[in-house]
């Protein structure tokens, strides 16, 4: 049985259907990445799995007594709250000093224990968030774009850390990203999301799927993916022109994108 799963869920936010008929499951020891352009419902899917947003249809199931570790996309620590990294790790459950120090050492930032959270760099902050999640001894680790604001080496190091955690603890890892490059090397399975599951499979299978290409283009990075998504739903727009001069990239299969959208 999967540790956590969603079966045919639909989620509505403010009247709009953000997720339609989405099914997803996570087993122990695997790294699954949800990939999709901005506004594709990635974060909403995670929030539905965590029980933070209600599902209109379908259901979310968790293994009995499942321990979850969650690393949010962004966390703002107000400057009015004096909070050291060590104290932060003990929220809401208290952990001993030895435990918190070990967790900080595990994620490679032992030096920040007594520093205020508001003064940490982006990379340090994300690692402390991960350390807090690890202190829950999670069977499932859920990360929402955990490397936002990190530079490329920092990002690569962070994903290596995730792989080590998986290896050491056997936890299932579910993360969200829009960074194709990193995802391809670090994931066992990739789920391509755009309001619904477009395609899923191993990174190799997904990268060759027409649906994936339609969403992200070929050999391009996130910038193009974002651009294409904006036009994805513009049905009145004449697809015959107006794209090529708007940006330098070549669309491999513009018709694919269109078909897919109406499917």
């Amino acid at each position: 049985m999967s540790l956590i799963a969603a079966e045919n869920i639909c989620v509505r936010l403010g009247g709009a259907e953000v997720l339609h008929d989405v099914s997803i499951h996570l087993d122990a020891g695997e790294i699954v990445t949800i990939l999709g352009p901005n506004g594709s419902g990635k974060s909403t899917l995670l929030r539905a799995l965590l029980g933070m947003v209600p599902v209109a249809h379908g259901r979310v199931t968790r293994a009995e007594g499942l321990r979850l570790g969650y690393v949010p996309q962004k966390l703002h620590v107000d400057r009015t709250m004096p909070l050291t990294a060590r104290r932060f790790l003990s929220l809401p459950d208290r952990h001993g000093r030895a435990e918190t120090d070990a967790a900080l050492a595990r994620v490679g930032v032992p030096e920040v224990a007594d520093r205020p959270m508001a003064g940490l760099s982006g990379g340090q902050f994300q690692r402390v968030l991960l350390a807090r999640a690890l202190l829950q001894r999670p069977q499932v680790l859920i990360l929402d774009e955990p490397t936002q604001g990190l530079d490329q080496p920092g990002e690569a190091a962070f994903y290596r850390l995730i792989e080590e955690v998986r290896r050491d603890t056997g936890a299932g890892v579910l993360m969200v990203s829009h960074d194709l490059h990193v995802v391809m090397s670090a994931s066992d399975r990739v789920i391509c999301l755009n309001g619904h599951v477009c395609c899923e499979g191993t990174p190799r299978v997904v990268s060759n799927a027409p649906e994936y290409r339609a969403l992200f283009g070929l050999g391009t990075q996130g910038a193009l993916a974002l651009y294409q998504h904006v036009h994805d739903h513009d049905h009145d727009h004449d697809h015959g022109h107006g794209h090529d001069h708007a940006h330098p990239h070549h669309h491999p299969e513009p018709s694919h994108r269109h078909e897919h959208d109406h499917a």
């Binding site: 949010p72 107000d78 104290r87 829950q136």
Partner: protein, 261 residues
Amino acid sequence: MLDDFLVRAGLAGIGLAVAAGPLGSFVVWRRMAYFGDATAHAAILGVALALASDLPVGLGTMAVALVMAVTVATLAARGWALDTTLGVLAHSALAFGLVAVSFVPDARVDLTAYLFGDILAVSRADLLFIWAGAAVVLGLLVWRWSALLTATLSEDLAAASGLNPDRERLILTLALAVAVAVALKIVGALLIAAMLIIPAATARSLARSPEGMAVIASVIGAASVALGLLASLRLDTPAGPSIVAAAALAFAASASLGRGR
């Protein structure tokens, strides 16, 4: 000892300060300053309703403050513009309260006492009410401390840890309503928010942990009560505003200290 009005005043003020330290810290962390104001202003309406229906004033203020706090929290959750909503509600509640008080036929209504407090007239019964209220506030906060802190930091993080952020918010709202009812007699409706915010803001630059900030805020609040009462006695100034003025001076000192470091 309790026969001395000054001792009763001091004990009343310290009771409020002890509860206001941690509660005020949450008000500062969650940026609820205006929220506290709106709840406090609604207390005047509670006074009028209590007097009109012959209920204890403390009960009336607590009930109306609670209704106000829940209303604001509900509207905020539905996505109303909080700044505008609070601005409308806070001053409307105050205006309706002042109008309603004028309908109370009895001449015993001393409006100034409710607007600026009447700490020097605290009776033994008042003292009991104040300390009971303070104990309720403190009890709620201590009981839910870790959960409240987590939910304040991030509702998502709290939810992922199996906590219910809505419940924690409700507990703070409840504590705020009780604190307003307690503080009305001491500093009055117009200065309640000040007693919550100023000691906590003063403690910020002196504290290294959330717990430290809460405790230091209580100490600063209590010291402000003592200083304010003393000044009031010596200079014959109004007691409630003198207490808040003392707290404000402490804030100025700590702010300049914080900058100097």
